[in-house]
Subunit: 427 residues, 2 copies
């Protein structure tokens, strides 16, 4: 079923709003196995809308439209579709009742205009609007289907969830199941080259890598008759991907590196502390983003000045003088210091030069030291994160924070299992 | 000049990314007086791309394209445009040199593939890529113009700023001059209603508000023959906007709230410290995002646990027991404590309930206290930031951090001018 998305709205053409509707619908339709080949946007102009509809149906079987269902004279999507199909609009009483209810509920007065929203083409499948007034609908004439949805994203997504997805699933008899493998420490092209044989030879499930902010996510998607069947198809592929990419997979179906860190800390019953210089609080910000992180994270110190590294974290003056603030020695003492201060089980620290200023030939912009400290594992890492781009301060800081979180994860994997010895003794 | 935007990329059709490029280009083109009537998205498929290009040129004079300029076999935008115009691609030596420089600088190896990116149609206007490898270009044949830009938004926007806008301005003999008024503490619709008379009656300069993450930016844009003429047209309007919106304008042409805070601290020669609970390091992250912030920021404490509030910040146990961690008293003692610890001139603190769990009827999710402490001004603020939406933890934290930064700015405005008394004595 070739499908395209046609969004109507002058505000999109002026760039006043971003077309999140097209992205949402594309993602949801892809998950349903519906192939979307085009997105089009036109303004609230009847000629250009009619022309766009003609082009769309000349190359697609189904056109999903958003916008132009409002009560005013320039909302013409419905009228244009009705014209295209030679299908007159008729008053749909249940929709009018719903609109009247909506106005009564929100204490506003119904105007004659709003009744226009209850005029629908005969024979259509009506999609009620749970968040607003305009109903949507699907209309099929001679194997061409138009699906009309309201423009405001909250109304559109609610209608999709409640009515459109069930409508499409019923048509296709198939559902899509996806699982995501999360990778840190290997670039997209490298990941792609390692998985290429699988990516090209498998067609169900399919394998697709996505890169974002220094990480790679591999989406494995199966088309199946049930969620269980989908999981059964995907499971072996997840195993193969993990085998092909040893050491760099940090989680499956986790939200983020920080999500994996918080989850692992919870499982192990351990607490983390952070001491940040160049990342300036970004690591603690990312950790505390996760609901429930307060169970595993008590304290983060952003020690931007040497004096704070000394007085709060207990980095020795000698270390700072001899090796400088950006050095493996300082990183190590920062991690050790914050672990002691916070009485944590494990601590991580960063110190580096995020730029754009402050670099020297010996210590250039992008040089970052990350230390992890715990009773069972301590380690310092040297990173060179500059790519010579402009405005890369934020990139360097973000990548440094990701490396720090990943180093914590690696250290946690080496942690002695809780109560392992106790269990052995009990036996 | 009828223009349309044609974005190439299967990832857009899969909904993996949102088409921010189309929105950015639409906004920028509208500001240049260029009328955009269509957006189209197609995947990396040569037939559909060629077809889309034909449709686009059948109704528009200029087609601005993004994406498909990469080095791999499925990047075909350039080839398709060259075919359309019957214009062969030739090696453009300066572009190849730039690509080789880029690889040398980033320490990666140039592959044969990448050389493909330096192949450009004869007679085009080349747009160098300051953030990546693929150059863009404009090509005009018989009054039809194609403008090709790379897909990654950072590369595309940098190229637009540096090359495409000047190219379009040259075509139109006019330049656009913009200044931005930054507002915090008033919603977009409120701002719009206060400025409506100006927005509707002025046509040069134009006034347009943009809302983002709890802030409003008002862009004032003049079409003029020179930058000086533009500034002359805009200056009185900036004054009128500030008069219409007293107390909520935090800066003109500043990057962000944190940028305004760092700038003001530098001007006054003052140092700031932060003590964060619910914002978890987000304030210190935002401050240290600003290059040079190390001159005015030494120390940020993320005291997520009560024990850290007590041991590191010196919040009294009595206060924590009697009023709780989320209380104006605790906020006050946190700010006071971190100011003393860091020997700073001014400090700000946050404590609150970011959710989704942890709320009670007395202290619901979204309740946040923010305190500012300085010798000349101290203040505690109570905020209720929940809107009852799902997944609003990040919104609550971000808004709380913005309120905290804004409170610091307000306090800094009340600070005694440096050396004011000294100057008076000297007279």
């Amino acid at each position: 079923m070739k499908t395209e998305i046609l969004c109507v709205g002058t505000e999109l053409l002026l760039g006043d709003i971003v077309n999140t509707n097209a992205a949402y619908l594309s993602r949801e339709l892809a998950l349903l196995g519906v192939e979307v080949y085009h997105h089009t946007v036109v303004g609230d102009n009847p000629q250009r809308l009619a022309q766009a509809l003609n082009i769309a149906f000349s190359r697609s079987d189904t056109v999903v439209m958003t916008g132009g269902l409002g009560p005013t004279y320039d909302d013409l999507t419905k009228e244009t579709v009705a014209d295209y199909f030679h299908c007159p609009l008729k008053l749909h009483q249940p929709s009018l009742n719903a609109i009247e209810d909506y106005f009564a509920r929100t204490g506003r007065e119904l105007t004659e205009n709003n009744k226009k929203q209850a005029m629908l083409p005969e024979g259509c499948t009506v999609f009620p609007n749970s968040c607003g007034t305009a109903p949507g609908f699907a209309l099929t004439v001679e194997s061409k289907t138009a699906i009309l949805l309201p423009g405001p994203p909250s109304e559109m997504t609610a209608m999709f969830e409640l009515s459109v997805r069930p409508y499409l699933e019923k048509r296709s008899q198939k559902i899509l199941v996806s699982h995501n493998v999360h990778i840190f420490g290997l670039g997209e092209s490298h990941v792609e080259s390692l998985l290429k044989p699988m990516m090209t030879s498998y067609c169900n499930p399919t394998i697709a890598p996505y890169a974002k902010q220094g990480e790679v996510r591999i989406r494995v998607t199966a088309s199946a008759g049930s969620p269980e069947e989908g999981d059964r198809l995907i499971a072996p592929v997840l195993g193969q991907i993990q085998a092909a990419l040893p050491d760099v997979v940090y989680g499956i179906d986790v939200d983020s590196l920080q999500g994996a860190v918080v989850q692992t800390l919870m499982q192990r019953g351990l607490k983390l502390a952070t001491a940040e210089s160049c990342t300036g609080g970004l690591i603690s910000k990312r950790i505390t983003e996760i609901p429930g992180s307060s169970q595993v994270f008590d304290c983060g110190i952003c020690s931007y000045a040497n004096s704070i590294k000394e007085t709060v974290l207990g980095v020795s003056r000698q270390t700072l003088c001899r090796y400088g603030a950006v050095s493996p020695q300082t990183a190590q003492e920062m991690a050790r210091g914050v672990r002691k201060l916070a009485e944590a089980d494990i601590a991580v620290s960063t110190t580096g030069i995020a730029g754009p200023d402050g670099g020297t030939p010996e210590k250039p912009v992008g040089l970052v030291y990350i230390a992890v400290d715990s009773p069972w594992y301590s380690q310092v890492m040297e990173l060179h994160l500059s790519r010579g781009r402009k405005k890369e301060r934020e990139d360097i800081r973000y990548l440094a924070s990701s490396h720090a979180l990943n180093l914590v994860l690696q250290a946690l994997r080496k942690a002695p299992q809780p109560d392992e010895s106790d269990c052995a003794e009990l036996k």
